[in-house]
């Protein structure tokens, strides 16, 4: 079934998509339906704002990304930015630009994913904008969160001797993308009903199509009484993010190849594609894991924390940023993350 968006119109579509939304956070006073949403935060909280613009053909390919997953991911990547400040996401606004190709049912699927992510993470949809587009789908999400006053973690707080930590494992989302791109090509060349074979690769696909934000790690750090000195989420690849932290903190670093966390499927897929798995982990991007530094005094606490890996340490700035390989060589870290502006 396909219902044209024109049958509902802009306001009708927004009403339809936001129907039944209940505001759950105490800080959400008034949501969709006025010139602006109204929020109310207590004086002991600071407010965090982050925003992401996703464009069809640049950030996602609808030939293999289901709209529901796209909605979920679009919301989660914003939550991830709020966690990366040591905060809690509370509200989002959702702006959509839609070409005539999209039906009301398509937008329902997209919104189902967004609403699911919001439910999982306890976030309220409080506003947005919907408009037609001449070309494809545009998604712009802004997320508002909060953090205890003085507890926000920036990129610029890393100190010499701090430990460098990452959550989860790296490179899998990038391998998932490679897998999807390969199957897309294969299906284009094949005639008839060939079904893609993703058996045994489910983890890679999940990491690419349905990433999660590491709320659990923020929670664990808080429970352990560890306040990171610097933190960010890994969206453009470990190298690029680590360079951001080191540049902004005016320090150097050493990380160790052997400590970079990898999943088995990532390694198998890299091997199959004849790619260096460390390179994938360093530059792959879209992992949405947390990269953070902690004082060396917290060594024991983070060393025994499940889902967290120590990968190196912060140095004086003169030493630069380098990777120590398994055979003891030193390579300067370079940002080769995804650069959508064509570097």
């Amino acid at each position: 079934m396909r219902t044209e968006i024109a049958t509902l119109g802009e306001f009708g579509l927004i009403r339809h998509l936001t129907e039944g939304i209940e505001l759950k956070n105490e800080s959400s006073k008034y949501g969709v339906g006025d010139d602006a949403a109204v929020l109310s935060y207590p004086a002991d909280r600071e407010v965090l704002i982050t925003t992401d613009l996703l464009l069809e053909g640049v950030h996602f390919d609808l030939t293999y990304v289901p709209l529901k997953h796209l909605g979920y991911k679009s919301a989660v990547v914003n939550f991830s930015d709020i966690y990366a400040m040591n905060g809690t996401p509370r509200q989002i606004t959702v702006s959509l630009g839609l070409s005539k190709r999209f039906s009301v049912e398509d937008m329902e699927a997209l919104y189902t994913g967004i609403r699911l992510a919001c439910e999982e993470y306890g976030v309220d949809i409080v506003g947005g904008d919907t408009t037609s587009s001449l070309t494809g789908l545009t998604i712009s999400i802004t997320c508002i969160g909060d953090v205890e006053r003085g507890k926000a973690v920036y990129r610029n707080g890393a100190h010499e001797t701090d430990l460098v930590c990452v959550s989860g494992d790296l490179g899998a989302a990038y391998m998932g993308l490679q897998l999807l791109e390969r199957e897309k090509l294969a299906l284009k060349d094949a005639d008839g009903d060939v079904q893609p074979d993703f058996a045994g690769r489910e983890y890679l696909l999940e990491r690419q199509l349905k990433p999660e934000a590491r709320r659990d790690i923020i929670q664990k750090l808080r429970e352990a009484g560890v306040q990171p000195t610097a933190m960010m989420d890994i969206s453009d690849g470990l190298s690029s993010e680590l360079l951001h932290i080191c540049t902004q903190s005016k320090v150097g670093c050493r990380i160790y190849e052997e400590h970079i966390p990898l999943d088995y499927q990532t390694a198998v897929m890299a091997e199959e594609l004849n790619m260096n798995v460390t390179t994938c982990a360093l530059n792959g991007g879209e992992d949405y894991e947390l990269l953070f530094t902690v004082p060396i005094a917290d060594h024991e606490k983070v060393a025994e924390m499940e889902g967290v890996k120590l990968i190196g340490h912060i140095t004086k700035p003169e030493l630069g940023c380098a990777l120590i390989t398994r055979d003891g060589q030193e390579f300067e870290l370079k940002a080769q993350g995804w650069n959508h502006l064509g570097e």
Copy 2:
């Protein structure tokens, strides 16, 4: 001179465009450069959030809109939404999607306009996102503002016997658009160096290309001790907005054709184009004037307020929403505002 954006890259471009930005509002704690901006509002303020998505070819036509003006307008229309809640805009985030057609100089022009608007209205740029686009220019701006706790004005508070007021005059921005579209066609047909003749039409162009948000009216209302019962800004046309207020407030209204504020140039241009000037004022859109209702007890205060016009009153819901023409006829108000989704 044309510098390709690729020579700077995403992070380089953002650094370049946001260079020298100083945060001026006390509530702006940390701006561009981290996973999220950090804001801090005192407990006696509520936080307002509004967002707008503008797409090339749908919301603006770069053949006649200079990028600097576009930047200015993109910011101001968001400020207007915050004023329409009785608030003060404090911060914006700016997300841009850019095709290869655009150079660093183009983005400088756009940002010059955005920064100028921010300076004029005392707003801080605290973040954003910049990415490549396959097609044209995408601008997504989110504005954060604040209002004294309990003083936000919604669309749903209008009561029977309240007075309906508008600021400024209506229809001029729409006439400006007609004028620009007409000249665009004329120049396309003409051969050689024909220059468009806008003499005597400057006001219409200014209303279309460089609208202002009515901060002054909010200030005057506050000084006069008038708290509107309902308010919104007129972006889609008076009819459409008045229907929003009446629907959400569950009331009806009567407005009077003879009281709708019009500028002389608007009337002349409508005449020239053989259009009904009242229709232009009712449905034109993009005026960014304020539409609000006040208790009848405030009659005297608003009647003598410069830049504010009383155009009618709120009725019981059974009476519906109608315009009384100069010759005493009653016409039901209909929303024929700009609907970008093809109604």
